[in-house]
Amino acid sequence: MTSTSLRPPLSGRIDWRRVVRRHGWTIGIVVLLVAFALYWRSSTSVPWGPFDVQSLAIDALPLAFVAMGQAVVIISGGVDLSVGSLMSLVNVLAAKEMAHMGYTSAILYALGLVVLGALIGSVTGAVIVVTGVADIIVTLAGLFVLGGCALAVLQVPGGAAPLRFQSLVTLDTVGTRWLPSAFVILLGVYALLWLTVRRRRLGLALYAIGSNRDRAYLAGVKVARTRIVAYAFSGAFAALGGLALTAASGIGDPNSGSIYTLNSVAAVVLGGVSLLGGVGGLIGPIAAALVLTLVKTVMIIKGVNQNWAQVIQGSLIVIVVMIGGLAIRQKGKTG
């Protein structure tokens, strides 16, 4: 809303102070990502190669996708705790049915699952809007309902995905060997699903209802519809995350998505999106997803027990959010 009035005069000169002020957190997280990548490179004895970039892309893709969806919901002033189970559900649906499909039909089926994810998300959103129950409760219930559905589809890990479909994420590169197609898919989805709406009416409405729902309503924003759309975004992105999981692991597991509920919220908060809504973007959460994945990779390379790695990752999340909380308090005192 305010972006048009605050836009600097079109002199072609970039006001760096303003860029830093508005995107400081995102820049910080990207710097952190680069620092971690350099540290990662220095800590491996084997020469650094395209394979490392490839493996980072494989590991980070599911989290990056689900964090993008979570970011849209949190920007709009909600929170979606059901994403982990939705990922599991899409994962088992994909692995169960795709095994015997050809490449083309697998891709079409995958697109169908993304649409299904968006539908499930919009149902969640509609339930929240119609019943007036808190987002947390509805999506927590959704976490269990969808988790139950995933269990009903596949009780134990199993199924498979066509090799050609898997290699989209695991092997393929675009042009140079240093550019895994997983990154291209990620950026493509970002451009297609987010850049197209961010500056439009819908994108501004998402920020507006997250910033101040009552004022957005008075300004003529269709609050209920926008909330439902936010959850549809989250569902579609969670489905993409589930597909990425399927491609990376090659099997379906009804519990595969369970860690992503917390991690997606963590990536969003680390990525500079305020849990109060209305602030932030999607680049920050994507960078944060890469950082969170790298932290674990580096620790495992360093010979840290995987469970300690989990502890350290959890502590990192909590500490960062605490610092963020202090920052908000400071701002509140001065402003």
Binding site: V79, L81, V127, V130, T131, G132, V133, A134, I136, I137, V138, L140, A141, G142, L143, F144, V145, G147, G148, C149, A150, L151, A152, Q155, T261, L262, V265, A266, V269, L275, N305, N307, W308, Q310, V311, Q313, G314, S315, I317, V318, V321, M322, G325, L326, I328, R329
Partner: protein, 330 residues
């Protein structure tokens, strides 16, 4: 907000029903509990397994419900202040783990160890939420991740599983044939919480903080202290539930508390406590825990799969939460 135009007569009747439900929600819940128990009895007879409405089964229901009752006690307190604690299940696991880890040092030492761990976890949650203003969802989920990670590391190092006899008796045995020992733990705690919420200063402050934290602060209440106390209590109560749980199972594993996470929230929501805080109480939660326990028995009798259970739990929470949202909103 969503005022649907209705005929005056209907809306008047609806308003009266609504008022009745709100005023006597605990009584209504007790009726639901009894009805569910009778239904389970009918189903069990229909399947040719005899009666379910027997003193032994009633006693068993209370024995099971004590664990969920304690877990959701802490959850009730936290939710009354407008927060949520998603670490209760792993805190219970930590309590159970400490009991079996220090079981060889005697029952008293192991119980104290468990409660101290609960206190530490609760204090960490409280510090984050009350002092650093971290969103309770993130804080408690993060602490939960950390807890389960530390427990896994510890369990890999050395895992002696010795549950003291006293704890086993407390968690699974009964006296006078029908009365479970764990009621001796749950009963006094329940009475203290119900009465404390109603009559003590801190009890009233818990409601106040949930209802309007700004007004409470302006009235001179240190809101952060109330929140800290609530999360610490929740941690200790969850650890106590873990002690009963390990006594019931007679062994601790790292997944022992996990199935109780959603039921702990569900019991509170069924009991009529608002997720936004400031409204509700522990009496409703107690009946909520009993209802969920009977429901669990019913599903076991019906041979329902884990998938069906999860879906049903989610649906019930949703249905009841929306019902409450409807009946309590003006």
């Amino acid at each position: 907000m969503s005022a649907v135009p209705e005929t005056p007569g209907r809306s008047e009747a609806w308003a009266m029903v609504r008022r009745r439900l709100v005023d006597n929600s605990v009584a209504v819940l007790v009726l639901v509990f009894v009805a569910l128990f009778v239904l389970t009895d009918v189903v069990n007879r229909a399947q040719g397994d005899g009666a379910f409405l027997t003193p032994t089964q009633v006693s068993t229901t209370f024995l099971y419900a004590a664990i969920l009752g304690l877990l959701s006690a802490g959850q009730t307190l936290v939710m009354l202040t407008g927060g949520i604690d998603l670490s209760v299940a792993t805190t219970a696991t930590a309590g159970a783990f400490m009991v079996s880890r220090f079981g060889s040092h005697g029952a008293a030492a192991s119980i104290v160890a468990a409660l101290v761990v609960g206190l530490v976890i609760g204090a960490a949650n409280g510090l984050g939420v009350a002092v650093f203003r971290v969103n309770p969802l993130i804080m408690t989920l993060g602490i939960s991740t950390i807890t389960i990670g530390v427990l896994t590391v510890e369990a890999q190092k050395q895992f002696t599983s010795l549950v003291p006899n006293v704890v086993v008796a407390l968690g699974s045995e009964r006296f006078l044939h029908y009365i479970p020992y764990d009621l001796l733990v749950w009963g006094p705690i329940a009475a203290a919480i119900v009465l404390g919420l109603r009559y003590s200063g801190i009890g009233r402050m818990i409601y106040g903080v949930g209802d309007n934290p700004l007004a409470m602060r302006l009235a001179g209440v240190r809101v952060w202290q109330v929140q800290l106390v609530v999360y610490v209590l929740c941690g200790v109560l969850s650890a106590a539930a873990g002690i009963l749980l390990v006594g019931f199972n007679n062994a601790a594993d790292l997944g022992i508390g996990t199935p109780f996470l959603l039921p702990s929230v569900a019991a509170v929501v069924i009991g009529g406590t608002s997720i936004f805080g400031g409204f509700g109480g522990y009496a409703g939660t107690i009946v909520g825990a009993l209802i969920l326990t009977v429901l669990d028995s019913l599903l076991t009798i019906l041979n329902a799969s884990q998938a069906v259970r999860q879906i049903l739990y989610g649906a019930i929470v949703l249905a009841l939460a929306s019902l409450y949202a409807r009946t309590t909103s003006e």
